[in-house]
Symmetry: C2
Subunit: 403 residues, 2 copies
Amino acid sequence: MALIVQKYGGTSVGDPDRIKNVARKVVDRKRKGDSVVVVASAMSGETNKLVVLVNKIAEIHDTREYDQVVSTGEQVTIGLLTLAIQALGEKSRSFLGLQVPIVTDSAHAKARILRVGEENLRKALAEGVIPVVAGFQGVDEKGNVTTLGRGGSDTTAVAVAAALKADLCEIYTDVDGVYTTDPNVCETARRLDRVSYDEMLELASMGAKVLQTRSVELAKRFRVPVLTLSSFTEGGGTLMKEEEGMESLVVSGVAADRNEAKVTVSHVPDRQGIAARLFQAVADANIVVDMIVQNVSESGYTDITFTVTKADLARAQKTVEGIIGELGAGKVRTDVNVAKVSIIGSGMHSQPGVAAQMFSSLAKEGINILMISTSEIKVSCLIEEKYAELAVRALHATFLENG
Amino acid sequence: MALIVQKYGGTSVGDPDRIKNVARKVVDRKRKGDSVVVVASAMSGETNKLVVLVNKIAEIHDTREYDQVVSTGEQVTIGLLTLAIQALGEKSRSFLGLQVPIVTDSAHAKARILRVGEENLRKALAEGVIPVVAGFQGVDEKGNVTTLGRGGSDTTAVAVAAALKADLCEIYTDVDGVYTTDPNVCETARRLDRVSYDEMLELASMGAKVLQTRSVELAKRFRVPVLTLSSFTEGGGTLMKEEEGMESLVVSGVAADRNEAKVTVSHVPDRQGIAARLFQAVADANIVVDMIVQNVSESGYTDITFTVTKADLARAQKTVEGIIGELGAGKVRTDVNVAKVSIIGSGMHSQPGVAAQMFSSLAKEGINILMISTSEIKVSCLIEEKYAELAVRALHATFLENG
């Protein structure tokens, strides 16, 4: 008998019939002899409706009150799902974040989980009750309702699984697992049976929207095995667990991120502290920088190029233009027509020549590389956006279609 | 400086613009120097939507989960209203039932308030914060979310006013007070400036839907002055407070209730215990009986007539038909085409002849009286339904239009 935490996302509980369908899956699992704890999101679209209401009242708002409003979507779902489970003859009880409790800090709208009280859930399980926990919401030390930020229900599920030392955390969504690359771009993309936490972190941060990054970090920290699978089809799924003892591929995924834009500051005096001042100003504007490249200095001047999200580009440009006078730098150029393609794989750092193979694969297709950044398990290249699909298919063929 | 509890109903907070309008009223009052605590209902229609969702999942349902779902309507409103108050520059904070706390028993869907914790609200008031409290919801001793039954927000407001010993509880609704009778029936109906708790209790139970009966009982018990008024027009209102020292009218209101139906059991043996067995059977079927008349016995047999709500009529008839054999009674007849008209007034019991005046007023219009029931402050007559409006106008003219 295993202890399983199952998380169902918004589309899985999108209407009363789908909620009944989820209840059947939960009850089936319980009747096979496992103990089940369910974590549920708001019905799809409901949280957005609530956000729209808040914005109609006040564009700039107190996030405590925002949380009070937007946390209600999950509250509705857990009550309904509990009723649907009871209608099938099993005992069930719903738990708000504050009833578990899932204690968070007070950073409303983006709270972080401090601890999950396991006592109430354990007691329910001991009574044969299926607990249904509200995703996304928590409570701070003062009793205020908090939320974890969009997609926070994944994090709730992993945190509950960690607290209960569950054997498995199952994340039901509308896709049946993690793929080697986007199947819409590359027909030969295939589902990965297994993926390591680090690989998943890179894939998640690259826009593979299967799991929220924070939930992967949490799963890694507490070594929670996470299976992502579809609530609409049977079987399949990708199991995320520690890499030790796993038969790792050198490269396990290829991803493209179109959400980046490039900022180049030219003719920057090559003196100590100049780059620090530049990026401090950008950080002060609350802008996250991804890739950074600084060219080798010639004649005492250099160029600095970095990438930000497309949404932050205008603010980044304004910030940098406000400081170039002080820096004694030249001018600022921006480019939105870029994409970042990456190869990801935990086996990579022990395999020499992977980066070189990537550059050569792109060169063969006539794709110019604008920037490069590397990590232990990832190599990313910034290229012209129009080549993104071509690059993904070429890299997928090179690394994932002959073995 | 007075301490005021203001309650706004569903239509008053029905959309973002109306919520902003309520916020202006709250802020105006605060800026005139009063301390204000707000109690808010769900936006009109929202609670019904949630009830429909629950019924789509399970017609017969666990009321704990029902409460978990239907209490979210108020949670949304208090967050939005707090944001609207903040947008006008005042400090405000929303309070769920469990954050006040409003502690109730565990009778889900119809919980009764045990106590209202005043400490958190007092602290907020001391900081110049306008507390916005969720109506309708509470929390039981175990931390389960409870609801007070439909219209329970009035009860929340009066309970909060009682706990804080507020100077006044203002109930904003879509009518501007309590009328001598239904203005749709009788053009000369006029708003009462004052009404006693007992008169209001009778008026509320007669279907004058200004205040929930339970909230009136609570106001009476804790002597909370309650002003009911419109959130859409300025001025007006009816003040409900203790009758002592008030200039009481003999009759302060005329009401008609079309929701009754009549059951007559004929040829009932006139022996001890027969009536008791009949009404015990009805009570066991969970049917509330309003008026009861037993004719004087002739030749050892009598007729018993009573009224129930139209919704309970079929079940009442079935119940009685199931027991008449055992009772040795004759047959059961029912009539749905009846209405109960009543005159209400705390001055009545010290004024002889009021009932006689009522009967004569009805007789003058050719209206036959089917049943009579009286209390300290009320006389009710059951008549044919088609005469209901005529009876109301006649009684209003007799008692309320010459003085």
